[in-house]
């Protein structure tokens, strides 16, 4: 499981861990029943306080993304697909919000933005479309 955190991100570390685990689940890189690394190992890997990782795991557990089985560790829960759809929307919402803020500051309207998105996706399609 590869997670990268950065202090310049502007969100708290535990939130970054939560978001990235959710992203990994949503993108299918973590599948139902996969085990997350123990708190201590992940903390050493990320060089953050173990409490931060523990808090992130608690958060994930309360949201139902993972379940912790006593003595065995923390596993991705089996509610996989509906959550991942919700999560995908959430992640995209974040990006779209950022895009909208920037375009309004640049003085570009929503209509022109939609056009731009269509144009870009056409140029993107040929090499990328085959892959996915």
């Amino acid at each position: 499981m590869q997670i990268h955190i950065s202090e310049a991100d502007g969100t708290p570390f535990y939130q970054q861990v939560v978001n990235q685990v959710k992203f990994l689940v949503a993108s299918g890189r973590l599948e139902e029943g996969d085990q997350l690394p123990p708190v201590r190992r992940l903390a050493e890997q990320l060089l953050v306080n173990p409490n931060t990782v523990a808090r992130a795991y608690r958060e994930l557990e309360s949201e139902g993304v993972v379940v912790s089985r006593r003595g065995a560790g923390v596993f991705v829960s089996d509610v996989g697909s509906p959550l991942s759809r919700k999560e995908k929307t959430r992640i995209l919402h974040e990006r779209i919000d950022a895009l909208l803020t920037e375009s309004s500051q640049l003085g570009v309207g929503v209509d022109s933005l939609l056009k731009l998105i269509e144009q870009r996706s056409q140029t993107f399609d040929s090499p990328r479309g085959e892959k996915s």
Binding site: E7, G10, E44, V48, N49, P50, N51
Partner: protein, 293 residues
């Protein structure tokens, strides 16, 4: 109280005319990582020396695990692992000798752990401390500081002047120490990104005064960085309550504020400023703002 590992109350100290510590209070609860930050000469080392019992508190009290470090160095220092930038390991000692020497003082010394660390750090028992590079020296000091699995790890600017690999080793040791149930870390550092990463409580010293001492999350969430654009160019920085630092020129300014964000934003709106960006600042930015405030 059994809950706090270190309890400092009202400690003051001055050297001649310079005031190193001024009525400093600090409470380190068990199992936490406390980052002590401050400029050079803010009194961090002096404070840590009080914890180690190398300074006797002239006013106020210092308690480590409920004991006085001056009156009872044997049991207090026995629970502490200490590493500093200037931890003066004897030049002539070999690594192996250093390990068996340190072992003599700690009944809880873990030979297997020490050996594991030594191999991880690629130090040979026959190497003399004199021949080690700065990073290797820090690693040797680290072995001596943590191989007895101390209840409290005290680090005085452990990573200044070291390369990123050694810094990582030291941070990993800090994390390993707290990951073991109930162990505590108190460390001072200039590298605020490190502090932000590993500590869950931050204490900021400035000219001997404790400027701030609160949980890391509170510190980070109670500060905001706003980027503001005004209609008319501003001649001088904003002077609003809660604004710690205001930087910029002309129409665009970056404001770092503390506490009630809404009231600051309201004031800015009244000055016909438009909020362009809002983000959480890093500890580094908060530190600089606080020091210049």
């Amino acid at each position: 109280m059994s809950e706090s590992a270190v309890e400092i109350k009202g400690v003051s100290r001055s050297f001649g005319k310079t005031i190193a510590l001024d009525e400093v209070d600090l409470s380190v609860s068990k199992g936490s990582v406390v980052g002590l930050v401050g400029e050079n000469g803010a009194g961090k080392t002096t404070l840590l020396k009080h914890v180690l019992g190398l300074f006797k508190a002239r006013t106020g009290t210092v308690r480590v695990f409920g004991k006085d470090p001056v009156a009872d160095p044997e049991s207090v220092l026995g629970e502490i692992g200490y590493l500093s930038e200037v931890r003066d390991l004897p030049d002539w000692m070999k690594i192996g000798e250093l390990m068996s020497y340190t072992k003599a003082f700690f009944p809880s010394w873990d030979d297997a752990f020490a050996e594991e660390l030594r191999e991880m750090f690629e130090l040979s028992p026959d190497q003399k401390v004199k021949t080690l590079s700065r990073g290797q020296r820090a690693r040797a000091g680290l072995i001596a500081a943590i191989a007895h699995r101390p209840q409290l790890l005290v680090l005085d600017e452990p990573s200044s002047g070291l390369d990123p690999v050694v810094r990582r080793d030291i941070l990993a040791a800090v994390i390993r120490t707290v990951a073991d149930e109930g162990r505590t870390v108190l460390f001072s550092s200039h590298l605020l990104d490190e502090v932000q990463r590993v500590s869950d409580h931050v204490a900021m010293l400035h000219l001997g005064k404790m400027l701030l001492s609160s949980p890391m999350d509170d510190v980070l969430t109670s500060h905001h960085r706003l980027t503001v654009r005004f209609e008319q160019p501003l001649d001088s920085p904003l002077k609003i309550d809660g604004v710690l630092r205001c930087e910029g020129e002309g129409r665009e300014w970056t404001v770092l504020c503390n506490g009630d964000r809404a009231s600051v934003e309201h004031c800015i709106a009244q000055l016909s400023g438009e909020l362009v960006d809002r983000a959480a600042p890093t500890l580094d930015e908060i530190f600089v703002a606080r020091m210049n405030d």
